[in-house]
């Protein structure tokens, strides 16, 4: 009797738990309102950003009487694989957000549509004029927009103002200034270093190559130009640090450059006086300073400046990537996707997009959004972030070339720089870049042949 009673109680409890879980599911799966057409939207945002995304979706849906966006969050690093297989399987979403250099790869194979395939032509022309140059480059393949960027990722140098003051140094305005910072804070030849002024991260040859005035690809001749003199000069300059400090010391640096989950921004602890990183680190600095204030400690000061060029290099230059909306072949509601893309990115909805960028801490893709009063007020309270927005408007911000085999191009350039900076053998930069150029060109040619 007792056992029987316990069993019944356990079963009832289990049924209760199941019913509760089911009710939670019901809340999340809101039905598409009558008379509206669904837009299935896949994205990778999780955590706090996911709430921001859901708020944007809610605002859009409230403004609509024709479409209804259903956002599906897929955190993790294989969203692009799931998407590609969904397209291949004939059951794609209507809209996807990506941040990988795959637009040309996918566009060339017909997996995603150029905007003019589903959006009014005059609006596509308007988008081309409306986007920042960097955003337009990010989304253009063979003269056509294949995506609508919704946020840019910009790199700059963060500097530890308090630390520079201690050494009597100024923030770097030229490459020589940067070299001086490192030579002063960490003189070459010591047996061990607790601090460095600056050490180049090998993966950033993309950024420095552009700053030195180079171009990695010639669109007109469809030729890889990673072996051009300016890129070689950039790599030689990076290798100069290896020659002064040794590859082992350079390798230890990379360990401190956000290479592990949860790794703290090394600039905060003063391990480095200057580091290259993106606008998202402004959050870390703000949190760090808030914690200092709460503990009653003196507030450490930080600054941001553009990547300093060598003589003859580009001003306000660097490497850019960002978030792009793409619409797949086979989308059932491309028109609805286009409306949501415009709403989020801001074309024709600049005020709403300004609100979106403030909420997400994102850099807008157009000056029309950046100049909105709400966003300007945000920038006044976030001077470091404002520097990144200023750089986003520069004409000298370049993405990884938008060509088929873009990810391969990206990886091979990083490999060359890593081998030059970290390999045991003394590097021959010119030969390494020439070999990489040949390998990348072959891969691009093979990928292009797939188009025909």
């Amino acid at each position: 009797m007792h056992r029987s009673t316990l069993q019944i109680a356990a079963i009832l409890l289990l049924l209760g738990v199941v019913a509760y879980a089911a009710s939670l599911g019901d809340k999340q799966e809101q039905a598409t309102p009558p008379g509206r057409k669904e837009v299935l939207f896949w994205h990778f945002w999780g955590g706090a950003d996911r709430a921001t995304v859901e708020e944007i979706v809610r605002r859009f849906n409230e403004s609509q009487d024709e479409h209804f966006v259903r956002a599906i969050a897929m955190p993790g690093n294989n969203l692009d694989l799931k998407f590609f297989l969904a397209v291949a399987g004939g059951d794609p979403p209507d809209l996807l957000n990506i941040d990988d250099p795959v637009i040309a790869d996918w566009g060339a194979r017909g997996a995603i549509l150029p905007l003019d395939a589903f959006a009014p032509e005059h609006e596509v022309r308007q988008a081309e004029a409306w986007l920042f140059p960097a955003a337009r480059r990010l989304a253009t393949y063979e003269g056509r927009l294949y995506a609508l960027p919704n946020g840019l990722d910009i790199r700059a140098l963060y500097y530890h103002q308090t630390l520079l003051d201690q050494y009597g140094l100024q923030p770097p305005e030229t490459l020589a200034d940067l070299d001086k910072i490192e030579a002063t804070i960490a003189p070459p030849g010591l047996t061990s270093y607790e601090r460095h002024g600056y050490l180049p991260d090998s993966r950033r040859l993309w950024a420095w190559g552009y700053v030195f005035g180079g171009q990695f690809y010639d669109e007109a001749s469809q030729t890889v130009t990673a072996d051009d003199a300016q890129i070689d000069a950039a790599l030689q300059w990076m290798v100069g640090y290896r020659q002064r400090y040794g590859p082992a010391e350079i390798a230890a640096f990379r360990a401190g450059d956000q290479s592990l989950p949860g790794k703290a921004f090394p600039l905060l602890s003063g391990r480095y006086a200057v580091m290259m990183d993106g606008q998202w680190r402004v959050r870390d600095i703000r949190a760090y300073q808030a914690a200092q204030a709460e503990r009653g400690e003196p507030i450490t000061q930080f600054g941001v400046c553009p990547l300093p060029p060598p003589p003859g290099g580009r001003q306000r230059a660097g490497w850019v990537n960002g978030n792009n909306f793409v619409v797949p072949q086979g989308a059932r509601n491309a028109a609805g996707a286009w409306e949501f893309m415009k709403f989020w990115s801001g074309m024709g909805h600049e005020a709403e997009a300004a609100q979106t960028c403030v909420a997400g801490g994102w850099i807008p893709v157009s000056q029309q959004v950046a100049q909105q009063p709400q966003f300007q007020a945000f920038l006044k309270s976030e001077p470091l972030f404002a520097q990144f927005v200023e750089l986003a408007g520069s004409d000298n911000q370049y993405p990884i070339p938008v060509v088929p085999a873009g990810p391969f191009f990206n990886n091979e350039i990083k490999n060359v720089a890593e081998q030059a900076m970290l390999g045991a053998a003394e590097p021959d930069c010119e030969a390494m870049l020439r070999d990489a150029t040949r390998v990348i060109q072959r891969q691009i040619n093979a990928a292009r042949e797939s188009e025909e």
Binding site: R109, R254, L260, A446, A447
Partner: protein
């Protein structure tokens, strides 16, 4: 009639597995052979291009780029991790066979790493092997030893020793270390095999004056050779096909400098990042042929050193 009906019934009951075998194994197997002679990107129909994918592989092997680099990396990883895991597995099994107090606890502790999910273990190792903050380098520093850069260095101990005379473990050595941590599976098999060695052999040898080392070399090892052979084959296949931990610690790109670009990662990236399914299929088939050849070679040479006790 009765035997025919029985045969039909047998096939009917086995049909779920047979359907799975055909649809999920034989069809992909055959399809990938066809695709290895095509240019195919999953979206557009395959186009026949003959041996172009294979000639590209041959060129890359000759130049040491792309697949050639992956082949070299994989060969290093297999050549170092398989012998070490066999040696470590046998050593642990012998030690854990000793009749000491807490034997069961020790056996459990050594086996535990093998049941930790690969993804979680990989992230754990990234923390452990951090050149500046990791506990491994902290321990080495306490002992006054060097500070390897592990996953941040494209080198390896042999190349470093050859070039500089010092031991400087790099990324592939870190992967070897990670694989050794999961040696528990092999250890358990050796433990079972040790239990099968007749005690009478040890007693007879001991009566004849053989010491512990000679008993190990002349009795334990020969009796273990069938299991060593099994683990050699399985270890070779597993090391050549290792993917998950490499994908995670190399940020999915074989970093640094392509030093952890293994064949399996090269295959995955070619298929799903570079959208070059034909070339990826060619890699898969070449991998299959290489592994088959290596396994056949092991089987052939095993006649000379594997002892199947009567």
């Amino acid at each position: 009639m009765s035997s025919t009906r029985n045969r039909i019934a047998g096939y009917a009951f086995a049909s779920p597995w047979l359907v799975g075998l055909v649809l999920l194994y034989l069809f992909p197997f055959a399809a990938s052979l066809y695709w290895s002679f095509c240019r195919y990107d999953l979206i557009n129909p395959p186009q026949w291009i003959g041996g172009e994918n294979y000639s590209r592989l041959a060129e890359e092997i000759a130049s040491g780029t792309g697949f050639g680099q992956a082949l070299g990396n994989t060969a290093y990883y297999a050549a170092v991790s398989v012998p070490l895991s066999i040696a470590l597995g046998i050593s642990l099994a012998v030690l854990l066979s000793l009749p000491v107090r807490g034997q069961a606890i020790f056996r459990t502790l050594f086996f535990l790493p093998s049941v930790i999910p690969v993804v979680a273990a990989s992230i754990l190792w990234m923390w452990l092997l951090d050149p500046t903050d990791g506990i491994v380098n902290y321990g080495l520093s306490s002992l006054g030893l060097g500070q390897p850069k592990w996953l941040e260095s494209p080198g390896n101990v042999f190349a470093a020793f050859w070039q500089t005379g010092s031991l400087a473990p790099g990324s592939k050595d870190a992967l070897v270390l990670m694989s050794l941590w999961g040696v528990g599976n092999f250890m358990v098999i050796y433990l079972a095999a040790l239990g099968d060695v007749p005690k009478s052999l040890y007693e007879a040898a001991q009566l004849d004056g053989a010491g512990p080392l000679r008993r190990f070399v002349h009795i334990t090892l020969p009796m273990l050779t069938p299991i060593i052979f099994f683990n050699l084959v399985m270890g070779l296949i597993q090391s050549v096909q290792a993917f998950t931990q490499i994908y995670i610690v190399s940020e999915g790109r074989g970093s640094p400098a392509g030093s952890t670009m293994m064949i399996s990662l090269q295959l995955f990236l070619s298929a799903f990042q570079h959208l070059d399914m034909g070339y990826a299929s060619a890699i898969a088939w070449l991998l299959f042929v290489l592994l088959l050849a290596a396994t056949l070679l092991l089987f052939r040479t095993s006649r000379r050193w594997v002892y199947y006790g009567g």
